[in-house]
């Protein structure tokens, strides 16, 4: 991805689109739909942007790619960006697409599990990344212990094989697979419903871009939000791109994902109901930060306000 030429970005014409690369955190899926939709329907182009979406993967390190200039915007996450502040990395969140993190824990039915608290003491397949996101939350709120952890490799087979275990998952994907393969409906516990409230699927960029070229950032944020509205309305164009990028993504899976996004108000709930998709509030950031300080994830003296700016959201879309 090339950094935009400042001269050209002031007065975009049909010919001089700004080259922008947006890096996602995973292979293309419904959770990325709005961005693909904005590409597919030409929303980005209307905003003078030529956007390339670069998929992430299990072991890609988006922050380094963002900071090295390989990416211009990156699909971030609330903990990650505050960690960045702690480490002096000048990246910043400019918008948050997901009001709720779709992170879930999944358990077998008829094991008497109805809430997160019931999982205490049971083996749970969790990925390494959980160690500085929701796992400390669970430890501090429900008294989970580290010896419950089993390494999760993003396949539900081991879960299906053992009724006693639970596993992590993404609201829109693992439950469906378990239904399909296991033939039963698992117990799905959305962490966001239990007070775990980081912003997810955010748009991060380098602080330097925000300062030198706020217009570009604004256009990207606006167009992405529009993309999401458009996607929730009619996902066909975006889905086509998703499946092109990730041929293994089934239509059924995408449809399920979209349904779940809507059902649980992942994009549209809380503040977003009034102020629209993408909105963030300082209070919520503070709330989250303080809770995670309590959980031992962040240092208390971190200036977490460096991690975000509210300058680009909550405005009428240009």
């Amino acid at each position: 991805g090339q950094s935009p030429d400042p001269a050209a970005s002031d007065a975009p014409t049909a010919k001089t689109l700004d080259q922008v690369t947006y890096g996602t955190n995973w292979y293309a899926q419904a959770e990325h739909g709005g961005f693909y939709q904005a590409v597919a329907t030409g929303i980005y182009e209307e905003h003078g942007l030529d956007v390339t979406i670069q998929m992430g993967g299990p072991q890609t390190n988006g922050t380094q790619l963002l900071m090295s200039g390989t990416l211009d915007f990156f699909m971030g996450y609330a903990t990650d960006v505050i960690k960045g502040v702690e480490e002096g990395i000048p990246k910043i969140t400019v918008a948050a697409m997901f009001q709720k993190d779709p992170q879930v824990l999944i358990a077998h039915p008829d094991q008497g599990i109805e809430s997160l608290a019931d999982l205490k003491g049971r083996p749970i397949y969790v990925s390494a990344a959980a160690n500085n996101t929701y796992w400390p939350f669970l430890k501090s709120k429900y008294g989970f212990t580290d010896d419950q952890k089993r390494p999760y490799n993003f396949t539900v087979g081991p879960f299906l094989a053992d009724k006693n275990v639970a596993q992590q998952g993404y609201l829109s994907s693992e439950p469906l697979k378990i239904e399909q393969e296991g033939g039963f409906e698992p117990v799905v516990l959305l962490l966001a419903d239990s007070g775990y409230n980081p912003y997810a699927t955010t748009i991060e960029t380098r602080r330097e871009i925000v300062e030198s070229n706020p217009d570009l950032v604004q256009r990207f944020v606006d167009a992405s939000i529009k993309g999401w509205y458009s996607y929730l309305e009619n996902p066909e164009p975006g889905n086509a791109l998703i499946q092109e990028a990730n041929p293994e993504m089934s239509s059924e899976q995408i449809a399920y994902g979209i349904a779940k996004l809507k059902e649980h108000g992942i994009l549209l709930s809380g503040d977003a109901l009034e102020q629209g998709i993408g909105v963030m509030t300082a209070e919520r950031w503070q709330d989250f930060f303080e809770f995670m300080v309590g959980a031992g994830v962040f240092k208390a003296d971190t200036d977490y306000t460096q991690a975000f700016t509210l300058d680009f959201i909550g405005k009428p879309l240009g």
Partner: protein, 290 residues
């Protein structure tokens, strides 16, 4: 004076001492020869045992699919898996060639002076022991828009060391008498290298190739895990990951099977190459003849 002498009858004249032709088997005969059949029989036995195991224990296919199911899936998914296989093989071959060339070059450099070897060999280990996942972002950064290049670099890192290590060992295992001979005839560095050291190192080098062949393949797969590609230019690693996420375990095993078969294929090719190059002189390739 000798008392009795017995002289053998003069033999019927033979025109030349080296006449008899050892018959060369045709390619087809070779294919049916026990050397080829034996591993195939073993392979089939393993597959049968695996199938039986799966059936008897009643393991669900999402844990361990039987080989029949895997083969069936392979047939069904052939159209998506083949292009991915080709891409993985492309990366493998590029990385392997790069490893061969660079490994040989470095080993030759090492062999030129004990000093160079001592000073730098320990650092060649660094390449081997650095987790690719950790340095992949740096590589991707350097290679900017060249994903293929980045993948090749990652796979190369994995495949590089065994060639350097084995070839260096080989270059240092030159027969001392021959080394003296070359010294005596004032052979230049290059001549000693070309006519003496490299041939001496050949068995070791080829041994290194056999190890690196498989490693470049696995390197190509791992590289894709860390450098993340998908879509049209996705290799087998992507197929494995996606099948695994989608719990299409038979499909995952079909992809694994393709990788494994490629690995065996590379190994067999390198073994044939090795036997061809060494068949005239090295103990490892010639049958004991008296």
């Amino acid at each position: 004076m000798p008392t009795s002498q017995k002289t053998a009858p003069r033999p019927t004249p033979t025109p030349a001492p080296r006449l008899m032709q050892t018959s060369d088997p045709t390619a087809w005969q070779r294919l049916r020869s026990p050397e080829v059949l034996a591993p195939i029989v073993v392979g089939i036995c393993i597959l049968v045992a695996w199938e039986l195991f799966v059936r008897i224990t009643g393991l669900p296919p999402y844990l361990l699919p039987g080989p029949l199911l895997v083969l069936k899936t392979l047939g069904e998914e052939w159209n998506t898996l083949l292009p991915s296989l080709l891409i993985t093989l492309q990366i493998t071959i590029c990385a392997f060639l790069a490893a061969v060339v660079s490994g040989l070059f470095i080993a030759v450099l090492f062999s030129q002076s004990k000093w160079i070897e001592r000073s730098f060999f320990p650092y060649a280990v660094i390449l081997q022991t650095t987790p690719i996942a950790a340095i992949a972002p740096l590589i991707i950064m350097w290679m900017r828009n060249n994903t293929f290049g980045a993948l090749v670099v990652c796979a190369w890192i994995v495949a590089f060391f065994p060639i350097v290590s084995n070839t260096t060992l080989g270059l240092n295992s030159v027969d001392h008498n021959l080394a003296n001979l070359f010294k005596l005839y004032n052979a230049s560095r290059w001549q000693t290298l070309w006519y003496l050291r490299l041939p001496s190192a050949l068995p070791y080098f080829l041994g290194g190739l056999k190890i690196s062949g498989g490693l470049s393949l696995i390197g190509a797969v791992v590289a894709e895990f860390v450098a993340g590609t998908g879509g049209a230019k996705a290799g087998l690693a992507y197929q494995i990951l996606m099948s695994s996420y989608n719990l299409q375990i038979p499909r995952m095993f079909a992809a694994l099977l393709l990788i494994t078969l490629s690995g065996v294929g590379i190994f067999v090719l390198l073994t044939i190459l090795s036997n061809t190059l060494l068949k005239h002189w090295h103990e490892s390739a010639i049958k004991l003849e008296n």
